[in-house]
Structures are given as structure tokens and as C-alpha cells.
């Protein structure tokens, strides 16, 4: 996840990358998640919340629906679950000549080729 000043810069970020705009949360919601995940992380008994707990934690700060359901990975998907909407991004090996657009399964991925950078930005 990334930090933005406003919804407008999120929209610009998504449009620049051809990605769908997905849910965003506010600082107080994020602080609750950070406390819940990490408050006891330096203790012997600390552990990561399990899928059921994660769903409950998200719900406490109003984050509900398929996007926030960690159990969807286990195959318990609701009838109206949209596989395309929730599919993870995939990388691909480009074959020459590359035209700037390539189909992966039934997804269209637009790739911008830029000079190699040592930036820390994983995106």
C-alpha cells in the first residue's frame, strides 16, 4: 500500500499505471490496523492474526466486502466474486517485437519500458 496526500493523487497514480483504483483508508483506520498487528510484535507470544481474525479486525474499522476478505484465497469465494477484479497482478516476459500492449490470459497489461533504475519504489 502507498501513502497519498489526496484521493486525486491516488487517481493520478492509478491512471499513470493503467491500474484500477481500489479501496483507500484514512490515518485513524491505519493506526488501528498497525496497533492490532504490531503492538505485541516484540513479545515471545506474538503472532500474525489468522484469516478469521483479520476479517474481524477489518470489519471493526469498516473494511468489509470481497477486497478485505483474506479467506478468499482458500477457495471460499462468494457466488458473485469477480475473478478478474481480484486477480493479482502478474509479470510477464515480453517477446520481440513488443508493441506496448500484451495479453496475459484474458487480462490486458500495458507496460511502460523505462531505463533501469535503482529506486526503492517497488512500483
Amino acid at each position: 500500500m502507498l501513502l497519498f496526500r489526496s484521493e486525486e493523487t491516488i487517481t493520478e497514480w492509478c491512471e499513470a499505471r493503467g491500474l484500477p483504483k481500489r479501496p483507500s483508508i484514512n490515518l485513524n483506520q491505519l493506526w488501528y490496523l498497525a496497533m492490532t498487528w504490531y503492538e505485541n510484535r516484540l513479545t515471545v507470544e506474538s503472532r500474525r492474526p489468522g484469516p478469521d481474525e483479520m476479517g474481524e479486525i477489518f470489519a471493526r474499522v469498516g473494511l468489509e466486502g470481497p477486497f478485505w476478505d483474506p479467506k478468499l484465497i482458500s477457495g471460499t469465494r462468494p457466488p458473485d466474486f469477480d475473478e478478474k477484479e481480484h486477480a493479482p497482478l502478474r509479470s510477464c516476459i515480453l517477446s520481440a517485437p513488443f508493441t506496448g500492449k500484451q495479453a496475459i490470459d484474458d487480462q490486458i497489461v500495458v507496460v511502460v519500458i523505462e531505463p533501469l533504475s535503482l529506486s526503492n519504489d517497488p512500483f
Binding site: M1, L2, L3, F4, R5, S6, E7, T9, I10, E12, W13, A16, L19, K21, R22, P23, S24, I25, N26, L27, N28, Q29, L30, W31, L33, A34, M35, W37, Y38, E39, R41, L42, V44, R47, R48, M54, F58, P66, F67, W68, D69, P70, K71, L72, I73, H86, P88, L89, N120, D121, P122, F123
Partner: protein, 147 residues
């Protein structure tokens, strides 16, 4: 305490104290064991989604959430120390884990505008910002470095 927990605790205590993630050799020395035994524990902890070894180098730790083993754009100042977080969630998580005030230096993901968040007395100081999740929760660990 079992061996994997001892490895985990040594790693977290080392990062909290020094801000730097130890290598498998460092942990092995502290626990009087071999680096290979520690690396096997790191892999088990990775499967439990508690740690992420450096891709291609099992002797190093890339992520011990909320801490990053490498420098990132998310700098967290705690008194005179600088920690690095894996993302903005983890940046707040460092303040939560250390149970301390913190100043987080970050930037707008699109414009690059410098942004500062602060945790004071157990609460974030109000700041105009929003956090965007590009990956659904069920897929965060498909590629946690991307997430």
C-alpha cells in the same frame, strides 16, 4: 522457548536496539548454533508469514515486519534512531511495536511531495492523507514485497 521463537526474538531485539537486521551468522553466534540452523528457522518463520529472507540470500533478512532489513522510502525517527519500514502501515507499526512516539518521513506515492506523519502519546497526529491498497487482502502474500 522453542528454537524458532528464540531466533525470532533475537532478530526483533537486535533490530529494536540497533535499527539493523542481523545476519544468520549474527543470530547463530548469539544463540550458540550454526548459520544453517538459523537459516532453516528463517524459512520456517517465512512460511508462518512472520519474516521474509532476502530473495537469493537466505543469510539476510529483508523484512521482519514492521521493520525492513533494507533502506526504504519510509523512514521512522524514534528519538535518535532511524528505522526503515516496509510500507506506511509498517511505519506506524514501528511506533506501535516499540510503544513510543515517532516521526515518519514519507512522500506522496504519485507526486513525490514530502509528507510527515507523527505518532504522539499513543495516537497519530491528524494529517491530511489517504492510504491506497492496490492488492486485495487475500493476495497480499502472493508477492509481499510488491504489496
Amino acid at each position: 522457548m522453542d528454537f524458532d521463537t528464540a531466533v525470532k526474538m533475537n532478530i526483533y531485539e537486535t533490530i529494536a536496539r540497533t535499527t539493523q537486521a542481523p545476519t544468520s551468522a549474527d543470530v547463530a553466534k548469539a544463540l550458540s548454533t550454526s548459520p544453517e540452523e538459523v537459516e532453516a528457522a528463517l524459512e520456517r518463520l517465512h512460511k508462518k508469514r512472520l519474516l521474509v529472507p532476502e530473495p537469493g540470500d537466505p543469510s539476510r533478512i529483508r523484512m521482519a515486519p514492521p521493520f525492513s532489513g533494507v533502506e526504504t522510502p519510509f523512514r521512522v525517527k524514534v528519538q535518535d534512531k532511524i528505522y526503515y519500514a516496509n510500507c506506511v502501515w509498517d511505519a506506524l507499526g514501528i511506533a506501535a511495536a516499540l510503544q513510543t512516539d515517532a516521526i515518519i518521513e514519507a512522500s506522496d506515492g504519485q507526486s513525490g511531495e514530502p509528507m510527515m506523519l507523527e505518532v504522539r502519546n499513543g495516537q497519530p497526529v491528524p494529517e491530511e492523507c489517504v492510504i491506497h491498497f492496490a492488492v486485495p487482502a487475500a493476495h497480499w502474500w502472493d508477492d509481499i514485497l510488491y504489496t
